[in-house]
Amino acid sequence: MSAELTTAPSALLPDPDELSWADVQLPSLPLPTLPVPDLWGTPAQWAVLLSVLAALAGITLSGRSNRLAAWIGVGGALATWAATVWQLYAVTAAPGGRRASGTIGALPLGELDVPLGLVATWPLALIAATVATVATVVQVYARWYLWYDPRYRTFAATVSLFTAAMLLTVHADDVLLLIVGWEVMGWCSYLLIGHHSTKRAARRAAAKALLVTRTADIGFVLGLVMLAGGAGTTSLTRIVEHWVAVGQGPGLVVAMVLLVLGVAGKSATFPFQDWLPDAMEGPTPASALIHAATMVAAGTVVLTHLFPLLAITGPARLLLAVLASVTVLGAALLAFAQGDIKRLLAWSTVSQVALMLAALAAATPESGPDAAAQHLIAHAWFKALLFLTVGWLGVLVGGTAMTLVASGARRYRVLRRRLAWGLLGLAGVPPFVGFFSKELILGTAEAGAVSSGGVASVIVLSSVGAAAPLTAAYCMRAWLVLDRPTEAEVHAATYHQGEIERIDDFFDEPAVLHEAEGLERAESAISSSARLGTTVLTLMTLLGSVVAALPVWRNDIHLNVQLLVVTLLLMVVAAAAVALAARGVRTRDAGARVPAALSIAAERGLGFDYAYRLVVATPVVALAEALTWFDREVLDAWVRAGGVGTRLLGRTAQWLTPRRATPAMALVLGAVLVLAAVGVVTR
């Protein structure tokens, strides 16, 4: 598709074949070997432990004090953040950029070797630092957002536990720890999504998230158990070594396919995607945490751990490529049709997380899985920023429906840059962070497609290429709505245009405008710490690009400039088309051009909820009811009959028992005869 479009730019740029990612990266500075003091425990251990302790302390010590709970939550998050930042420094000094540590010692499980180790490498340390940063901002923000919430204390503690689980998943070098982190995260997501437990919709969303992800977890756990069982160890490092040595076989294929299905559940990939938009029922900080850095990204982390196995398992790669590609495109389309900006962001998360998985599916052992990890980090910055800012806006305007948030970025100037940078990052516009990570994914897919990646890489390449303009389209749509001039501004512009001055009978228009501006400024007040948190995230959407250019990533990815330029052009075209479509709509919402039937179907997630009920929930419940009936009416009948029968036997025996001495004696003599006979006969 690129042949006819890219003739012009290629003349201006150096020969694209010579350009590689290494040229864009920062030079690897010869860092002086800095001393790393040998502290007690490794930062990975501390990061997990501190979050767990913060959760425990939050739930036990805070009593009835929200203030204390906030101190514990934020303090724990900051301590965790310090540990992860220290880890970034410590990893530079670790030999081979890899630092392993234990946890509670190996478990004595007979033939199975269970070391329960943690590991920190460069990508993992960067992910951990990102998670900790986002978690800190979320804690700070939640203090403001849930100021009057009677269950804030529980919320803060759950966020701490959630962070701990994610950090455990990131650092786990052991199947058991991985599953622990994974499952704790699942349960915490249930608690966070269902935080407003009096709301029926929130309860349903929480239950749905739990059930859908747990259904997929069947595959996850089975796959990991197969891998660990085959290798005779639960250490991920040794599992990878063992299975790479064994090579592709039916066992590995089945295990990896199951694992991919489990990851698809947690990452809200097709066909499990429908729980994530519903999870918007949770409070905004919870959504930001779940969507940005933790739960949905966990699958990417797990597959990064096991990437060498995924790369040699063709069927699993292909499955992942197909699922992720369908999700990338489908979710981007659905995002465009949503009538609520929070749901738009939710579908964009589905799309972006699938993009990470697509990168993993397309990558070959030569290119490595780093593109996925980089997109994970990039996505964490702009998605957390967008969620928190939209949540802020929602508080100001009283909702997140498109009609409500229209002109939001104009009315509340403080939100303008945050929203703009976040959307630019999401769309992947240079020089924002999303641009680099998406180009890396494109580069990885392209490298895979031309070398040994096979059909999986080709599928991913085409879907990622097609997703870029779609992403740009829904970002443009959101921005047009948010940045619509306010009616006051429209009026003001009208007034100054003509020479005839309109006289209002009732009040002085400019004064009213002034007053309204002041009012809005007062309304948009937010706690300074929460505001600082969003500022940090805003900066990171730009500065995160530097992280992507750090020389710690694998740099042998070929950079295709033609492809890059084509993608950018497509994005521009898509954005222009959206702007065109938005003309004439009162809210400047291009989504209003979508036919109503389609729009409603999209908002309902294309009926997947019904499909889940039809395919999984209803048969399972029916089976459970049948089993209950069988248990109660058939099996229990025997048990009940046993009880009645024994009682009856007891009465009979009591009735037969002699009550006087004479028959008792007869019984004795008879028994002796029988016993003697038995003795002699069996002799």
Binding site: T646, R647, A653, V668, L675, R683
Partner: protein, 480 residues
């Protein structure tokens, strides 16, 4: 024929006998001082238990011996298991004595006689397991049995005539059954001598295997009545219900020690002669458990339920003896000790509750909601019931059941193991049914029990026995 007499070694048996004589002498010397008699008896029992205690710490194969013949065989030999049984018998008798203390110290001039009879029976129970020959065994068994008949008949003179008549009926049932059993025992002894050519149980050689088998069946039948094994159990419910409650407790515990002691002697002797498994023991065990449990399931009176529970537990005590493994007798002994502790505790509480109610009501209904009304009595009773059922938190009961099943499973007698497993379930139903009554809502409240004062001694018994079970549940070392 020279005889080496180590009289001091027989102190566990001798001490209660001496105490009995002392009680009778004191009765002639001091008139009307019941407390002195009771205290003397208590001291005698304590001295006996103290004398038997060092035997518990003996190593395997060692034993305390007395009345040794020139040929090396001894007519009295107490190894570790026997010593443990003796301690259990003597301390069990002491518990009964403390339990009966208020009644006996208030009674008329019968007290010395009753106390002497109790001591005599206990001496018999202590000497049975140590018996080394048939003569000693027969005499000890009778010494352990006949006084109990009188104890059953000698009821409180203040009781109603009808009630006392029933007691006599119970005593008669016990007497007739014990006489028939003694007859069988004597016949078995005669056959034994005919088959082996000696009355010694130590090292006989079987000359007539069939005759020996018949002999052992007869001896077994003679002993089974005492352990209340079905179908020699018929006296048990009759006598238990009619006897005074402390005497019932005595029959349910101390008498069982005598019976099991005799069985241990028999099984050891048979093991030395012949390695035939006694199918008869297995049959008795299976029958006792099953009949005892299913009849206990429909009882509405606590004492009657405990009587049938005794029958069922007798099956459990017999169970390991059905296999000829070396651990079998130890398993049976361990089970018996746990059973005695649990049953004594249950009896102590039942007596305490019955004394607090008008007319000594022992029905289960009278105990409804006991956990709320008298938790300090109900909780130990619950512990005792759980021990007998073999349910945690009374781990000691569970361990005892496992220990009793182990030789049977090791032997491969699967039909017996299956019967035992089924009986575990029925047994749980029996005791949990009682437990549910204790936990249930308090009765309609029409007759609020007059909270009569429970003596400190009874509290002491409850505390001691409960502590024993709790410690046994935490560290079941002695049982294993």
């Amino acid at each position: 024929m020279s005889l080496e007499v180590h009289l001091l070694s027989t102190l566990p048996v001798l001490a209660p006998v001496v105490a009995a004589v002392l009680v009778l002498v004191l009765d002639a010397l001091v008139l009307g001082r019941r407390t002195v008699h009771l205290a003397t008896a208590a001291v005698g029992l304590l001295v006996g238990a103290g004398a038997a205690l060092p035997g518990v710490l003996l190593g395997a194969g060692d034993s305390v011996q007395a009345f040794c013949l020139a040929s090396g065989e001894c007519l009295y030999a107490a190894d570790r298991l026997v010593s443990a049984l003796q301690v259990a018998a003597l301390l069990g008798a002491l518990v009964v004595l403390v339990l009966a203390w208020p009644e006996w110290s208030a009674e008329g001039d019968r007290t010395p006689v009753v106390v002497a009879l109790l001591l005599g029976a206990t001496a018999g129970a202590a000497s049975v397991p140590a018996a080394g020959d048939l003569g000693t065994l027969l005499v000890s068994i009778e010494l352990a049995t006949l006084p109990t008949v009188v104890l059953v008949a000698l009821t409180d003179p203040r009781w109603a005539g009808e009630r006392r008549a029933r007691s006599v009926e119970g005593a008669v049932a016990l007497l007739t059954t014990s006489l028939v059993s003694f007859g069988l025992l004597a016949m078995g002894a005669a056959l034994w001598v005919a088959a082996t050519g000696t009355a010694l149980l130590g090292a006989p050689t079987a000359r007539e295997p069939v005759l020996l088998l018949l002999a052992s069946v007869f001896v077994l039948a003679g002993l089974a009545f005492k352990v209340s094994a079905v179908p020699f159990h018929a006296w048990t419910p009759i006598t238990y219900v009619t006897a005074p409650l402390p005497i019932t407790a005595y029959l349910a515990t101390v008498s069982k020690v005598a019976a099991l002691g005799a069985l241990v002697v028999l099984v050891r002797a048979l093991g030395a002669v012949d390695d035939t498994t006694l199918l008869a023991v297995a049959l008795l065990a299976a029958l006792s458990m099953t009949v005892g449990n299913i009849v206990a399931l429909v009882q509405t009176d606590a004492v009657r339920l405990l009587a049938w529970s005794t029958v069922a537990q007798a099956g459990w005590v017999l169970l390991p003896l059905a296999s000829l493994s070396s651990r079998a007798v130890h398993a049976a002994g361990s089970y018996l000790l746990v059973y005695i502790a649990g049953t004594l505790l249950a009896f102590v509480v039942v007596v305490a509750v019955a004394r607090a109610t008008r007319g000594g009501d022992t029905s289960l209904e009278a105990q409804r909601g006991l956990v709320r009304s008298r938790p300090l009595l109900a909780l130990p009773l619950g512990l005792a019931l759980l021990t007998l059922a073999g349910l945690p938190p009374a781990v000691v009961g569970l361990v005892a059941k496992v220990v009793a099943l182990r030789p049977v499973v090791g032997d491969g007698t699967w039909w017996l193991a299956v019967v035992a497993a089924v009986n575990v379930a029925i047994g749980i139903a029996v005791y949990v049914r009682w437990l549910a009554v204790l936990l249930g809502p308090t009765g309609s409240g029409a007759e609020v029990a007059p909270q009569r004062h429970t003596p400190v001694a009874v509290w002491g018994l409850v505390a001691t026995l409960s502590a024993l079970l709790v410690v046994g549940s935490i560290v079941p070392v002695g049982v294993l």
